[in-house]
C-alpha cells in the first residue's frame, strides 16, 4: 500500500464494471479513502446493447454494474468519454502495428495512454491525489527515498505487472493497486461478502474492442487492400511453397492456417517475414528459437544504467516463463537483450519486460529477433 496515502485521501478508482475494480473500490472505501468511481467509455459496443459483452467492456451493462457498486458503497460515480483518445492511441496503433508486420499488445498501450495518462489528468481536475485500479500488481514505496518500485502480484497466476511496465515514478507514486496482495478466488469471495452483484461475473478475455470475428476482419475493415498486400510463403532457403493473403494474418510461431501443400511442411511454423518483398517465411520449429532481440521505446521504472550490461530476467510475452538474459543499452536508446538460452517465438511488437526477482525493472517493445 502506498505510504503517502492517508485515510481520507481522495482517490479516483478506474472501474470497468468487472469484479476486480469493483472490489478495489470497496476495499479503498473500507480503508477510509474518499472514493470516486470513474468508468471510461472507450469503445462503442453499440449503445443499445443491454447485454454485458461477455468479457468485453464498455457496454451499457458494464457501466451500470460499476454504477451499482458505487451506489452500494455510497460514493460518486461518473462515466467519462475517452473514445476518441482510445481510437487514436490504442485502436489505430493496433491496426498500424499489424500492418507493419508486428503483433501489438493493445492492453499495454491502453494502460500507458489512457489509464496512466488521461486518468491522471482527470484526477487532477477532480482534485484526487490518487488513482486506483484493479490490476494485480504491487507498488512499493521506499520510505526514505520515496522512490517507487513496481512489483509482481502475490498471486503469480494473476500477475499483471507485464502490462504495466510503461509506468513512471510520477504515476507510480500516486497509484494504488489494492488487489496486488490477493488471489483471484479471494477477490471473488470478498465481492460475495460485500454483496456485489458482479461477484460471479466472467473475467474479461481477449481484446476488448475485437468482436467474435477476430482481429483479422477488424484490421481488414480498417485498412485499404493496398496496405495489406498478398505475397508468397517461402522457406528460409528461399523456396516458394505457397501464397498468403496479407502478412498481418500471421504471427511468429503460428502453425495453424498455413495451408501448405508441399509434403513435409505439416509441422512448419511462421518464423518471420520480409517486409520489402512481403514474403512470409516458414520453417521447422527449430527456426523459432533465437537468442537475441533488439527493442526500443524503453522505460526504466527506477534509474538503471545497463550500458555495460545488466543481468536480469525477461518475459517476451505475457504468458512466457521469464528467462535469464543480459540487457545492454546503446546510446541511441536501443536495447539488446541476449538470453542465456534461445527463446521460442520472439515476436516484434510484443513487449519485453525485465524483472529482478519480484521487481519490474522496466521494459521495451521488441523490434526484431536476432540469431
Amino acid at each position: 500500500m502506498n505510504l503517502n496515502a492517508n485515510k481520507g485521501s481522495k482517490v479516483l478508482v478506474a472501474m470497468s464494471g468487472g469484479v476486480d475494480s469493483s472490489v478495489a473500490a470497496v476495499l479503498l472505501k473500507t480503508q477510509g479513502f474518499e472514493v470516486i468511481g470513474i468508468h471510461l467509455q472507450l469503445w462503442n459496443q453499440g449503445e443499445a446493447s443491454l447485454e454485458s459483452t461477455g468479457g468485453r467492456c464498455c457496454s451499457l451493462a458494464d457501466s451500470n454494474d460499476a454504477r451499482r457498486v458505487c451506489d452500494r458503497i455510497e460514493v460518486p460515480f461518473y462515466v467519462i468519454n475517452a473514445r476518441d483518445l482510445f481510437a487514436e492511441k490504442v485502436v489505430d496503433n493496433f491496426v498500424h502495428e499489424y500492418l507493419s508486420n508486428r503483433t501489438p499488445n493493445p492492453c499495454i498501450q491502453c494502460n500507458r495512454h489512457i489509464k496512466f495518462d488521461y486518468l491522471y489528468r482527470k484526477a487532477d481536475e477532480l482534485g484526487c491525489e490518487f488513482v486506483a485500479t484493479g490490476h494485480y500488481s504491487r507498488i512499493h514505496l521506499d520510505p526514505v527515498s520515496g522512490v517507487a518500485s513496481l512489483m509482481k502480484a502475490s498471486d503469480p497466476q494473476k500477475d499483471q505487472s507485464y502490462f504495466l511496465f510503461p509506468m513512471d515514478q510520477k504515476t507510480l507514486q500516486r497509484t494504488l493497486m489494492p488487489l496486488g496482495g490477493f488471489t483471484k478466488p479471494v477477490v471473488r469471495r470478498l465481492a460475495q461478502e460485500f454483496g456485489l452483484s458482479v461477484a460471479s461475473k466472467d473475467d474479461s478475455q481477449e481484446i476488448c474492442f475485437i468482436g467474435e470475428d477476430g482481429y483479422k476482419d477488424f484490421v481488414e475493415s480498417r485498412s485499404t487492400p493496398a496496405l495489406r498486400p498478398r505475397g508468397t510463403i517461402c522457406t528460409e532457403e528461399g523456396e516458394t511453397i505457397g501464397e498468403h493473403e496479407g502478412l498481418f494474418r500471421y504471427t511468429i510461431g503460428q502453425r495453424k492456417g498455413l495451408q501448405l501443400a508441399k509434403k513435409g511442411t505439416e509441422n512448419f511454423f511462421v518464423i518471420g517475414s520480409d517486409p520489402v518483398t512481403h514474403k512470409l517465411i516458414v520453417g521447422p520449429e527449430s527456426g523459432l528459437f533465437k537468442k537475441k532481440l533488439m527493442a526500443s521505446d524503453v522505460n526504466w521504472i527506477r534509474p538503471v544504467s545497463p550500458l555495460k550490461g545488466l543481468p536480469c530476467k525477461a518475459k517476451i510475452r505475457s504468458r512466457h516463463d521469464e528467462a535469464s538474459c543480459l540487457v545492454t543499452s546503446f546510446e541511441n536508446g536501443i536495447l539488446q537483450v541476449e538470453f542465456d538460452e534461445p527463446q521460442r517465438a520472439i515476436t516484434p511488437g510484443q513487449a519485453v519486460v525485465f524483472y529482478d526477482g519480484e521487481e519490474v525493472l522496466g521494459g521495451a517493445f521488441i523490434d526484431s529477433a536476432v540469431d
Binding site: I36, E47, Y78, V79, R83, R121, D124
Partner: protein, 389 residues
Amino acid sequence: MSRRTAIYLDSNSGAPLSPRAVEALLSFSTDPLIPNPSSIHSHGQRAKRWMANSREQVALSLGSNDPERVLFTSSGTEANQLAIFSELEARITRGEKPHWITTSVEHESVRQMAEWAVERGVKVSFLPVDSKGLVDPAELEAMFKPETALLSLIWVNNETGVIQNLQDLAARARSRGVSLHVDGAQAWGKLPIAVNDLGCHWFCVSGHKIGAPAGIGAVWSARGTRVSPLIRGAQEKGRRGGTENLLGVKTLGAAASALDPIAWATRVEGLRDRLENAICDRIPGTRIQGKGAPRVANTTNLRFDGVVGEGLVLALDLAGYSISAGAACSSGATDPSHVLLAMGASKEEASSAIRVSLADEMPWDVLAGFIDALDAAVSRARLARRLQE
C-alpha cells in the same frame, strides 16, 4: 446516496415539479382511483373530464382556444416524431420523394428522424446556423425546392437558449406552401406563445420542461393537418393508441395552467445576466455561446479556454452543483455538442461547454457559491492541463 443535497442548476434537462403539478399528484393520494377514460361508467366519465380539462389548459397555455387541436403523447420526442412522420409518411407511401428542411441544431428526437427519412428516399437538407446559433432566412430561401414538404425548426435551442426568428421563417415557409413543424419544448413556459399566429402546422411540447413529470408530451396541430399514428388504437380519436396516461395528463394540464412566461422571465433574466457577468469578471477566458442572439431568460452556455466541459460537470457535482455539458448519452458519457459544432466551434471547443439553466429565482448567495466552485474547478483543470503538457 447519502451525499449532501446538491444545488440544481439544470432546469433545461428537467424542471422541478410545479406546485400545481404536485397538487394534482397529491389528489390521487386521497382518491387512488385512476379510471380508464374509455369506460362508460361515472368513474370513466370523470377521467374523460380530466382529460378534457387538461387539454384545455394545455391549449390555453399555447394560446389556442381549441382544445381539440391538442393530442397527448408520451414525450416531446414522440410529439416531434409524430409530426414529422405525419407530414412525410403519406407522401412516401404515394411514391413521392418529398424534401424536408430542418436545422443543424435540432434535438436528438428530430435528428434521429433524418436517418429514418433518408432511408425512405426523402431528401433532407440541414440549415446551417451562424456563430450566434441563428438560421439565416436567406439560406432557407435558397434551400426551398418545388418538392419541399416540411420545415422543422427548434424554436428555442435546449443547449444555448437561442431563440430563432420564428415569425420570419414561418412566413417564408407559408409563402411556399411548406408545412412548418416547431419543436417548442424549450419555448413552452419561457416565451409567450400564440400558436395560431405563429403560422405553424405542428407545435410539439414536453411535460418535464415545464414542471410536469417526464412521460407526458403533447402535439398541437393546425386545422387541415392529418395525423398518421405511430401507435394505433382508439384513444385520442385514433391518432395515438394506448390507454391514456391520466396521471401525466392531469399533471401536465396543472403545470401548464401555472405558466406565466413574462413574469418568469422578469424574475430570472436579471439573475442569469448577473451570473454571466460575474463569471466573466472572475474567470479569464470565459466565452458565452449565443450571447449575441436573442435567448430565453434562464439559459447560459459557457466555455472556458482549455477546459473540457465533462470534467467541469464532474468537479462541480462533487462540489454540490448540478449542471450539464454537451449531450449526455445513455451511459452518461458526454460527446461534443453538435449544436456548438454547427455554430462553428472546433471539436475541442464543442467539448468544453457547460450549460447552466435556472428553474426560477434563487438567492444570489447560492449562485455566488456556485461561481466560487466553478472558478476552483476551472483553475484546477487548467493546472492539470499544464502539468501534463
